[in-house]
């Protein structure tokens, strides 16, 4: 009987370890292509992973933010708007707990794109970020040309569009997207669900400690 309990506990511990390891090995998401190469006369097949398209936006401090800003760092991206009456506040609240929990971690940044480019000017974004108590050292709130923002949402493989029938006039994904230092999507989490945020924090801790 004692042996059985020991075996049971061992199995649970092992299962826990496997889960922890898995979080440290996040998959690379999105479509991928095979690239044929000829190296020293040999035919080789290389996998080309989906990466975030080139972008250039302006943040709350009027600074340019582009792919280079996040090179070699992990970052969490989302799509929101400051006057959003539905899911945005809880997404911001959850992002804020990530921002606070990983304070002093220079390799994790945050990128929030407004999808209401008409209303959310640099000034409005500055006010919002100040009220949230965060700085552009680590958390960029960006705006840009409407088509560019909606275009980059497609590259993150999430939805963002105007919709007159939705509260606030826009419809958008509530996903928090984890992107690695090479611009590859590594995970999606539901920014409105506490249990997803717990999972996300564990995964980020694991990848940053590698």
């Amino acid at each position: 009987m004692r042996k059985a309990s020991f075996l049971f506990i061992s199995l649970i511990t092992l299962a826990g370890c496997i889960q922890y390891q898995d979080e440290g090995k996040l998959p690379i998401l999105g479509p991928r292509e095979a690239e044929h190469k000829t190296v020293e006369g040999k035919d080789l097949i290389d996998t080309v992973y989906h990466t975030i398209d080139n972008f250039q936006f302006v943040n709350q401090d009027s600074a340019i933010v582009n792919n280079e800003t996040f090179k070699g760092k992990y970052y969490v991206a989302d799509f929101f708007f400051t006057s959003c009456p539905t899911i945005c506040p809880i997404m911001s609240a959850n992002m804020l707990t990530l921002y606070d929990d990983f304070k002093g971690e220079p390799n994790l940044n945050f990128l929030s794109h407004t999808i209401d480019t008409r209303h959310d000017s640099v000034k409005v974004l500055k006010r919002y970020s100040t009220k949230l108590g965060v700085s552009s050292d680590r958390w960029h709130f960006v705006t840009g040309a409407k088509d560019d923002i909606y275009g980059i949402a497609k590259s993150y493989l999430v939805s963002a569009k105007e919709d007159k029938n939705s509260p606030g006039g826009y419809i958008h994904s509530g996903a928090l997207i984890l992107v690695d230092g090479k611009g590859r999507i590594r995970a999606y989490y539901d920014g409105t669900k506490e249990e997803d945020i717990v999972k996300m924090k564990r995964a980020i801790k694991a990848i940053l400690s590698q």
Binding site: S92, A93, T130, L132, G133
Partner: protein, 130 residues
């Protein structure tokens, strides 16, 4: 014996459901309409969304809150010493009963310990909205 046991269980179920009937709808309405902004524990969101844990403010604005729920509010509010300028959207679809349930949930949650309001009182407050 079996019959007595079944009747006893039925009575317990009825009593428990009855007890919950006033608290539950208020909480469900809070989760559906308010929690995304005001938070799971009524904590609000930093300088953007005021907390509902500010008992003094809640107590002093009992008459206005039903109107804010129905018509929204865009004027600046000072809650627990902090200024909040972002508007709260109107929820014209909420019925008087729903507003009453919401009010009473907030009045008795998040550290607030206020008297429950009757539907008649809520009706009167809503009639007096600007």
């Amino acid at each position: 014996m079996m019959r007595i046991a079944s009747a006893f269980i039925l009575v317990i179920i009825v009593v428990v459901t009855g007890c919950n009937s006033t608290a539950k709808p208020g909480k469900d309405l809070y989760v559906k309409h308010c929690q995304n902004c005001h938070g799971y524990s009524g904590e609000g969101l930093k300088g953007l969304i005021p907390p509902l844990t500010a008992s003094k403010f809640i107590a002093e604005h009992q008459k206005q809150i039903p109107c804010w729920l129905r018509n929204g509010i865009s004027e600046e509010l000072t809650v627990a010493g902090k200024k909040y300028t972002d508007p709260m959207p109107a929820m014209p679809h909420l019925t008087n009963v729903e507003i009453s349930n919401l009010m009473n949930f907030v009045n008795t949650s998040f550290g607030n310990d206020l008297e429950k309001l009757t539907i008649k009182e809520i009706d009167k407050m809503l009639e007096g909205c600007n």
